[in-house]
């Protein structure tokens, strides 16, 4: 009978989690900046979520999944691209300027400089430091409120507010600075 219980649990899991797969994929895509990597992260996150499913208590399923996807994304980045990981807790050390691309991508750097699409918003968002990037993505593209963003990213609401403020200031600066409006 144990496998019947397991099967029921899995069906419930799929009903709770799979509707938010697009949201999870979008967050992973913004954090990894790559389609294939985002897919790997989301798959791993779903398996983790299945294992932690007993800790889910009929709450906000989207936030719950996004929290796991976010954690999985950073674990994945730490394993595969350690140079990109910015210490999340050190809020004060990221002054809100748009970071240059990670070390090892100087070619990409040069390419970007020479291309007009440096002004494109998605490129600018991708170059925000991860704590600011995830805040802006969760707010503007997933339309989460501050409480949900705080839940997903594991920081107080005040920090969410200041990260959003800094993210927007950085985006406007980079955007206006390049003469686009």
């Amino acid at each position: 009978m144990a496998w019947i219980a397991e099967r029921r649990r899995q069906s419930r899991f799929e009903a709770v989690v799979l509707p938010h797969l697009d949201a999870g994929y979008a967050l992973a895509r913004w954090l990894t900046r790559n389609d294939a990597d985002a897919a790997d992260v989301v798959q791993e996150a779903c398996l983790r979520a299945l294992r932690y499913f007993d800790s889910y208590h009929d709450g906000d399923a989207k936030s719950w999944l996004l929290k796991i996807v976010r954690r999985t994304s950073y674990d994945w980045l730490e394993r595969n691209r350690p140079s990109e990981v910015v210490p999340l807790e050190l809020d004060s050390d990221s002054n809100g300027s748009v970071h240059s691309p990670p070390a090892g991508s100087t070619d990409a750097d040069a390419l970007l400089e020479s291309r007009s699409d440096l002004r494109r918003l998605d490129v600018l968002i991708e170059h925000l430091p991860p704590p600011l990037r995830e805040a802006i993505v969760l707010r503007e593209l997933q339309e989460l409120d501050y409480r949900q963003i705080a839940e997903v990213t594991g920081v107080p609401i005040g920090t969410v507010m200041s990260r959003l403020h800094r993210a927007r200031a950085a985006l406007r600066q980079a955007w206006d600075g390049k003469g686009c409006r």
């Binding site: 009978m1 496998w3 797969l21 398996l47 299945l50 409120d145 403020h165 985006l171």
Partner: protein, 253 residues
Amino acid sequence: MRCDEVHPRLDAYLDNELAEPERTGLRDHVESCPDCGPEAAALERLRDEIRNFAPVYRAPDELRSRIRFALRREASASASAAVPRAPGWLAYAASIMLAVAVGSGGTFLLLGDRQTDAIGAEIIDSHLRSLLGTHLTDVASSDQHTVKPWFAGRTDLSPPAVDLRMEGFPLVGGRLDLIAGKPVPALVYKRREHVINLFVLPASPTDHGETLTRRGYNLRHWDEGDLGFWAVTDAAPTELAEFERLYRATTKG
């Protein structure tokens, strides 16, 4: 309100995160202030630009089925770990079926080959799981040109997916299942209200032309070329034999 009080709260104001007295205070200020007004407008413009022009990423279909499959494998791994400890209702059901089978002249056979026996048991488990859950089919279609290509890339085994609707066995779709830890295609047919799962594995040396009855389910196994077919159902043994005959005749031609 002074500008230096308003400025740090502009984001929260535009994000609709301020409680009422403060919100009205900010709105009044923003509407009248020559500095904060344009500042708020610029922030709104940025927000609109992001929402309208940033790429919208969606999980590809391929990822969806990959995840479904990985989840199922995970669940069946923990489930099969649990099976040996499962309470005895299956044995109980089997003993009833044995009694019924013996009483009715006996189609209940014991298999000598332990490996075949294990696969047969697993196939019946998978059949049961497919009936209980929400995933009888991954691809629901009676069109062989939809079902067969769906398996390509998901498994090495490519079964002929013929619709036997005219013969009374309509094809309802296909599913990826797990037998002996390997992904295998399962074709799903119906016989009136009964489901027939046709699992396709690599051919094995043992071939059984008899209908085996396990836990009340009927199982037939035959090989065709390098594919081994395992058909399982709760429809009558004669109907399952008829299904095998039709399927083999149609796929040969």
